[in-house]
Amino acid sequence: MSESPRVISAPTFWSTRRGQNLRANALTVIILTLGAVVIMVPFYWMLSTALKQPSDIYLLPPQWIPAPPRPSNFTEALTLVPFHRYAWNTAVVVALVLMGTLLSCSFSAYGFARLRAPGRDLIFLALLATLMLPATVTLVPTYIAFNKLGWINSFRPLIVPAFFGSPFFIFLLRQFYMTLPSELEESARIDGASSYRIWWSLILPLSKPVLATVAVFTFVATYNDFFGPLIYLTDDSKWTIAVALSYFQGSPRVGPQMHLLMAVTAVATLPSLLVFLLAQRYFVRGIVMSGIKG
């Protein structure tokens, strides 16, 4: 390993530090590639099934490459069920939940981070404590309350809570707001700006990257949410994609036809995958930012 002249005699590939590192890196890449294959096989299997001829699905051994591929599976599957309806319902819920979460969380987080009031830290602690609670504890009374309000079979039970903040995102945003320099805020105050104005026209624009992170996580969580829509949306015209998907396997039109079922599943996973691929840097950036404070 040392660079002293004595070693010059036999610096083989196996003994040098460079060689060792190369071998370790090669091993790393091999293991990671194997793992990546294991991760990707289900995706491939989904797409391959979705593109197969109906007669080729139950073949032994399984056919890996659809021959010839049948893209019409997708159009067939999406017209067999009112998919556009489910997509629209999902879009409405996701859009409103996003709006509610972003506004309420950043609004509350600013108070926790930048203003002082008696009891503030105690409230913040209580908020953090809810992160440890299994949501099942509050499930039954919340359902009963929404039922009493007549909100069952509407989107309200899914959307309204989003406007009352989410503990984790409030925490994330608060951490970020605490790192912002106070000079900007001070000069705005000298110019006579109120706290609300400062939040709206100074803090919000500054927090775009964190808000993007919150938005990405919220999108994925809301889009994928199954339990909420399952218990609150009873009428199938109100279903979101996730719930509709779960009913397809039992439905007489789609269920038994694996190629159609996988086509719908593939389409249903597309939005989340796209958001993830397009917004990866926000995932990373957000994690770095929340980590700064430690």
């Binding site: 289900p42 099934t49 509350s108 009031a117 009374p141 001070e186």
Partner: protein, 321 residues
């Protein structure tokens, strides 16, 4: 904090001087009012969606309520019934086995992968994306996909097993293999925990490894004596999250097995769902929820209490230096 706040108060004070007298007196009171207004959504959310329902849930668990009539106070009857409910004990066992196997397995595999993904090799970004990919899929889609993969005759898993000379079991149709199938599925979506490990690994100062290497510590010893202690707070975090998460798994089990065959995958969350939304036994379901909560609380406390023995925090390290 206070160093950061003090100058601002005086500045506000200076601004407030020309205003009406009571403004001047109540600079901090005004700030407090603003602060409460800002915190209002969070406070209301806390009351309406956490504290209120929790209180109601305790009370409900002492009643019999089917959503039609009014709740009947039955005292401890629900809990007494739970003690003699065989299906409840079974679901407790199923959830227990699931968590006991799945949580450590996920933690170990995701740590291993995170360490590999943390190496400085070109193209690592690509691998990280791939490993995270399944995590953004919905539980329902994951379950649908794996249901088809686990298909005993035409599924890809048994096809692979038969290639290497193993006769694959009837995964989802047998009591023996349905729960293992669920656990395998949980392993596919470990991206979240990998991400948390990665964040922890990147917080370890490079110098520690360098000086250990100079001292002649090999890869394994560096991992054992630097990495493991230095990320123990992340282990703690992942462990607590893992326990809470494992006890709440729902969509995957609901779609993959629906609790069957013969209730061999009846997780506590599924049993709660059945009681609440199929049998409309709201009081009984609340009692189950509280038992679940107590278990989570107990486990979390256990992890917390054991933390001083194995979690090393940055500050301690600085003090002992």
């Amino acid at each position: 904090m206070s160093a950061l706040k003090e100058p601002r108060v005086t500045v506000t004070h200076a601004r407030a001087a020309p205003d009406r007298p009571w403004w001047r007196l109540s600079v901090s009171a005004r700030e407090a009012i603003d602060c409460y207004v800002f915190m209002a959504p969070a406070i209301l959310g806390l009351l309406l969606f956490w504290l209120g329902p929790m209180l109601a849930s305790v009370l409900l668990s002492f009643t019999s309520y089917d959503m039609l009539g009014s709740p009947q106070w039955t005292g401890l009857e629900n809990y007494r019934q739970l003690m003699g409910d065989e299906l409840f004990w079974k679901s407790l066992r199923v959830s227990g086995i699931y968590s006991l196997v799945s949580v450590p397995l996920v933690l170990a595999v995701s740590l291993l992968l995170a360490v590999l993904l943390n190496q400085k090799i070109r193209g690592m970004y690509f691998f990280r994306s791939i490993y995270y990919l399944p995590t953004v899929m919905s539980g329902v889609a994951v379950a649908m996909l794996w249901r088809w993969m686990f298909n005993s005759e035409y599924g890809v898993i048994n096809a692979f097993l038969s290639k290497i000379g193993i006769q694959g079991p009837q995964w989802l149709q047998t009591e023996q293999w349905a729960l293992p199938a669920l656990i395998v599925t949980s392993l596919w979506t470990i991206g979240g925990s990998i991400l948390i490990w990665l964040a922890g690994l990147q917080g370890i100062p490079e110098e520690l490894y360098e000086s250990a290497e100079i001292d002649g510590a090999g890869r394994w010893r560096r991992f054992r004596h630097i990495t493991i202690p230095m990320i123990s707070h992340v282990t703690f975090f992942n462990l607590v999250l893992g326990i809470i998460g494992a006890l709440q798994v729902f969509a995957e089990a609901f779609v993959l097995t629906g609790g069957g065959p013969n209730n061999s995958t009846l997780l506590l969350s599924l049993y709660l769902y059945r009681n609440a939304f199929q049998y409309l036994k709201m009081g009984y379901a609340s009692a189950i929820a509280w038992v679940m909560f107590l278990i989570v609380l107990l486990l979390t406390l256990l992890v917390f209490r054991s933390a001083p023995f194995w979690v090393h925090y940055e500050q301690e390290r600085r003090q002992t230096r």
